[in-house]
Amino acid sequence: MKKLITLFLGLSIAFTSCSSDSDVAPKETTININFTHNWEEDSVTKDDFNNIKFTNEHGEELSIERLRYLVSNIYLTHTSGSSYKVEDYLLVDVNDEETLSYTTNTLLPNGTYNFSFRFGFSDENNIDGEYPDLNIASFEVPMIMGGGYHYMQFDGKFIDMNDTTVGFNYHAIRAVDNTDPDNLILKDTSFSVTLGEVIVKDNSATINVKMNIAEWFKNPNEWDLNVLNQMLMPNYEAQLLMNANGKSVFSL
């Protein structure tokens, strides 16, 4: 009997010790996500807004006046394959500094993770009128354009080919062909973004998400603002172009 007790105690100590060393037990962990923005090498904050100081790949000089976008299904996926949801969705507004940093506490073990989110809402979550905070933020998409929510509202001005300063509204939504208003053709143009490795150590992690704004006009489709500037929401082809260009704008 004594031998059995000794064996039991020994195993218990060994088990506890191994658990601790490998950090597999989920613990209260603080996750900080910071959203930063840049135009190629230059940092962009709201202080850079309202001035025509950027030049896109096609050569148009432009300003930014409003830049809001939605990321959803924010996950940390452990190398073991376990996924931990960080948040359902976040609305990032460069004009509102409070939205540029997000902190949450969640249960997960230390270790190496892959960080991912979705730009915009997938069709599954893009439910018209569903999210009161987004309704208040006037981020919705009219039902005549398929309903749901914007993925991004990016407004500014540019100097056009006539040397006139005019507005642009680079609004990304679910692509819609409303040629026949009674039979809308919709295509989910949100996309997943996998940003790579994040280390959770000492029960905390800080994740810096960068958006290179210039990429929206650049890769793979060189964007000509003289052609595509306003009323892009019901422009099916323009939404496909935004979808393609958006895939290279985010990085860690």
């Binding site: 009161p132 006037s138 009219p142 642009f168």
Partner: protein, 353 residues
């Protein structure tokens, strides 16, 4: 046994003493706002500041103060003089005049659904960061009530009713300006408008006419009215984003609007989007009341836009003056806008003097 009897008596005594103390402590009756079903479905819960919770007595006091001319220097004007319930708590003047007959430079704003202004920036230029602060200003403004708070506090303190009403609302008879504006803000937070024809349509209670429906589509169509980006929608039934925009009224500015508050030239000519609810009662329109009719407003956006450095990029086809709506679309848009009129709100007995 005796020991247990003593303990029982002691417990009864403590219990009675405790009950007696509770009866002596007066607490104003808390009030929860009755949020309309549509707003429950679509909007975040209302914003009530922790340091000024709603109470029955506070709201009643605020209402009495709101309609009382005692707040003005010569006892001729109340808040309701420029914020009349039958006009959705604005007035019909382009610029309201104060007690000395001097007119201001801004159109009086209607008052409703203020608890959903989460940025808490009030007035056309956003200079007031809470309802309490907003209520503080007109009393001493020389072109409005032209009083001063010391005199107002004295008048209220010497009034036969007010000290006891403040006692009921705030548990003190010592009246000061902070409590006055708290009470007024409490009353203003109860001003909820959510029973227009369009609200009823969204709740499935009524049908819209074909003209109203087409007008709504014009409102929501980015290639036509494109009103929804700033003025809400069926999913934001406040019918405002409560943000600041330059909507192309002027090429140069005599009134800087938000820019006059922030000192940032990029904010010049920007004013807070007003709600489009209750337009039937709130003419004239815009921060300076320049448009007498809804038709004039629609014509402005359709072909009257003026370009300037700070014009909002959401304004479209500025070189053509705007989106050039057809006559039919204009008429339908007007019909839709009028369907946002809430007659129950302006006739609500809770909001009358």
């Amino acid at each position: 046994m005796k020991k247990w009897l003593h303990i029982c008596f002691l417990l009864i005594f403590i219990s009675c003493s405790s009950g007696s103390d509770q009866q002596e402590e007066y607490i104003p009756i808390p009030v929860s706002l009755e949020v309309p079903i549509l707003f429950q479905q679509k909007l975040i819960a209302p914003l009530i500041p922790a340091d000024n919770p709603l109470t029955e007595e506070g709201i009643a006091l605020g209402k009495k103060l709101f309609f009382d001319t005692i707040l003005s220097k010569d006892n001729t004007q109340s808040c309701a003089t420029c914020h009349n319930p039958e006009n959705s708590f604005t007035d019909t003047d382009q610029f309201s005049d104060g007690i000395d007959g001097i007119r201001g430079t801004r159109n009086s704003m209607p008052l409703f659904n203020l608890v959903w202004n989460f940025d808490e920036r009030f007035t056309w230029d956003g200079k007031e960061f809470s309802l309490e602060k907003q209520a503080f200003e007109p009393v001493s403004n020389p072109i409005e009530m032209h009083s001063n708070w010391i005199d107002v506090e004295k008048k209220l303190q010497n009034h036969p009713e007010y000290p006891s009403l403040f006692q009921l609302a705030f548990k003190t008879v010592a009246i000061d300006s902070a409590l006055v504006v708290k009470a007024i803000a409490q009353f203003e937070r109860t001003l909820i408008s959510a029973n227009s024809k369009f609200d009823k349509y969204l709740l499935g209670q009524v049908e819209l006419t074909d003209n109203e429906l087409n007008g709504f589509n014009v409102f929501m169509d980015e290639t036509k009215g494109d009103c929804f980006h700033c003025h809400g929608s069926n999913n934001n039934p406040l019918w405002t984003d409560n943000k600041f925009h330059n909507n192309g009224l002027d090429a140069t500015f005599t009134d800087l609007g938000l820019g006059g508050v922030t000192g940032d030239t990029n904010d010049n000519g920007k004013f807070r989007s007003p709600s489009l609810r209750n337009l039937a009662f709130t003419a004239p329109y815009m921060h300076d009341g320049r448009f007498l009719t809804i038709d004039e407003v629609i014509n402005h956006y359709s072909e009257g836009l003026q370009n300037s450095e700070t014009i909002d990029p959401l304004m479209k086809k500025i070189d053509q003056g705007g989106v050039n709506l057809t006559s039919q679309d204009k008429a339908d848009l007007k019909a839709f806008l009028l369907s946002l009129s809430d007659y129950d709100f302006i006739n609500n007995p809770k909001f009358q003097q």
